[in-house]
């Protein structure tokens, strides 16, 4: 396989791998209220950098799905839209976390031989 196509394949697989994780991270982070920019910073501080053009539309989508609530509020003389996990979002988040932990444990088991090498 050519190096370029291998890199492209890696990028596309990495994107696919990150997509689900990012939703989980955003939902978890929004147990505390944030607006777009501070949420992005908070995620980046935790080592999970995410592009603005991905994060902001994602917040809208999650809100449309009823997992987040939002409200416009003035902060430092500027109107900002603050997001927070909704009641439905909390239920979904806990279900997703159970799923995530299951996958994580399975992967640990599958990869233990790899780590032992």
């Amino acid at each position: 396989m050519k190096e370029t196509s291998q890199n492209d394949l890696f990028d596309s697989l990495r994107l696919e791998l990150r997509r689900g994780c990012l939703i989980l991270a955003v939902l978890a982070q929004l147990r505390v209220e944030h607006y777009g920019y501070t949420l992005r910073k908070a995620l980046a501080d935790e080592g999970l950098a995410i592009e603005e053009s991905t994060l902001y539309p994602l917040l809208r989508r999650l809100e449309t799905q009823g997992l987040l609530t939002s409200e416009w509020r003035e902060e430092q003389k500027r109107n900002k839209r603050f997001y927070r996990l909704s009641a439905a979002g909390e239920v979904i988040l806990s279900q997703l976390l159970v799923e995530w932990n299951g996958i994580n444990e399975s992967l640990h088991g599958i990869l233990k031989d790899e780590r032992a090498r």
Binding site: E52, S53, Y56, K80
Partner: protein
């Protein structure tokens, strides 16, 4: 902040009117917060180039706007497999229907005014129009279902015992091969139909030389010609049906029927006996050569006929013995 406003205006051009103001207000607040954080970091106001760098990193206005739109498909992943199967299944039927229509037109016009080249040349446009209409119909269905009527869901329940029996290894003809066979057959008939009007299709550049010879096809050629065309046309529905027949007796039966028609073609050719006749006075030697040519051609057709009959009998015998023994198969796991 002129650059920021220009950026927001450019994004806004691609946003739906309903959510435009709300989206732009949020985007403005987030970008301003990012700019202010950077200014705080540097301890000074940002230059226009630095603001431009932030906007560049944020993304092209149109792409940014697109990300706020709901995901849309012409034909979504749920419907696409059904669309694909429908296209695959209906394509051979369309080719068959087109060939039938052309054959009927040929019969009713008695060969006069019928242009085989135009009939074949028109086929791609018919296929293209069919593809466009089918795609449009599925796209309309995709748009409407769930919006204007209840979403149709394919049941997860199915019966594994309904699957066709295991085919013998190496025996089963793939559908692609069957389709290619059908297309080649249609083209072959078209080619044969075109020959009387354009003999160059048969002998190519040698036509000029042959026209100079005092020899031509027997005047009865059109009798066996049309008999052959009729037998080839009868093969079409059998080949098309073969695409849908599952492995086993049904498919074997169709193949046997095709072989019978193939034998019929050779019988017609053998029965013709004389293929070429003199068109001008010939010497005794030339006349003898022409007779020998007719005998040789007749012999070739007879040998072909014997081989085809043996093959037919062999396949019939095999089909009969297969049907009387229980079928077994193996699968690679």
């Amino acid at each position: 902040m002129d650059l920021l406003e220009r950026y927001l205006q450019a994004v806004g051009q691609h946003l739906p009117a309903k959510s435009k103001n709300d989206t732009l207000a949020e985007l403005r607040a987030n970008l301003l917060a990012q700019i202010e954080a950077r200014e705080e970091e540097l301890g000074r106001s940002l230059t226009e180039a630095e603001v431009a760098a932030i906007l560049e990193e944020h993304g092209r206005p149109m792409l940014v706007a697109m990300r706020y739109m709901p995901q849309q498909y012409l034909i979504g992943p749920g419907l696409f497999p059904i669309y694909w199967i429908t296209m695959k299944k209906s394509l051979p039927l369309l080719v068959l229907a087109y060939a039938t229509v052309q054959a009927v037109a040929l019969i009713f016009q008695g060969g006069k005014g019928f242009d085989p080249g135009a009939a074949i040349g028109h086929l791609p446009f018919v296929l293209l129009a069919f593809w466009a209409w089918m795609t449009l119909a599925f796209a309309v269905f995709e748009f409407a279902h769930g919006r204007y009527f209840t979403e149709i869901k394919v049941s997860k329940r199915w019966n594994p015992f309904d699957m066709p029996p295991l085919a013998e290894t190496g025996r089963r003809q793939s559908r692609a091969r069957g389709l290619a066979d059908l297309i080649v057959h249609v083209l072959g008939i078209g080619w044969l139909l075109a020959i009387p009007y354009k003999p160059v299709l048969l002998v190519g550049p040698g036509l000029g030389y042959l026209r100079g010879l005092p020899v031509g096809l027997t005047p009865e050629w059109h009798i066996f010609y049309w008999q052959i065309i009729a037998l080839l046309a009868l093969m079409l529905p059998l080949k098309a049906a073969g695409l849908y027949a599952s492995a086993g007796k049904w498919r074997n039966g169709l193949q046997i029927a095709e072989q019978v028609l193939g034998v019929g073609i050779l019988v017609v050719l053998v029965e013709a006996r004389t293929y070429f006749v003199p068109t001008a006075a010939l010497t005794m030697h030339s006349l003898g050569s022409l007779t020998a040519l007719n005998v040789l051609l007749g012999l070739c057709f007879k040998i072909g006929l014997v081989i085809r009959v043996f093959k037919l009998l062999w396949d019939v015998w095999k089909m009969m013995t297969e049907s009387s023994t229980p079928r077994t198969g193996c699968a690679v796991v």
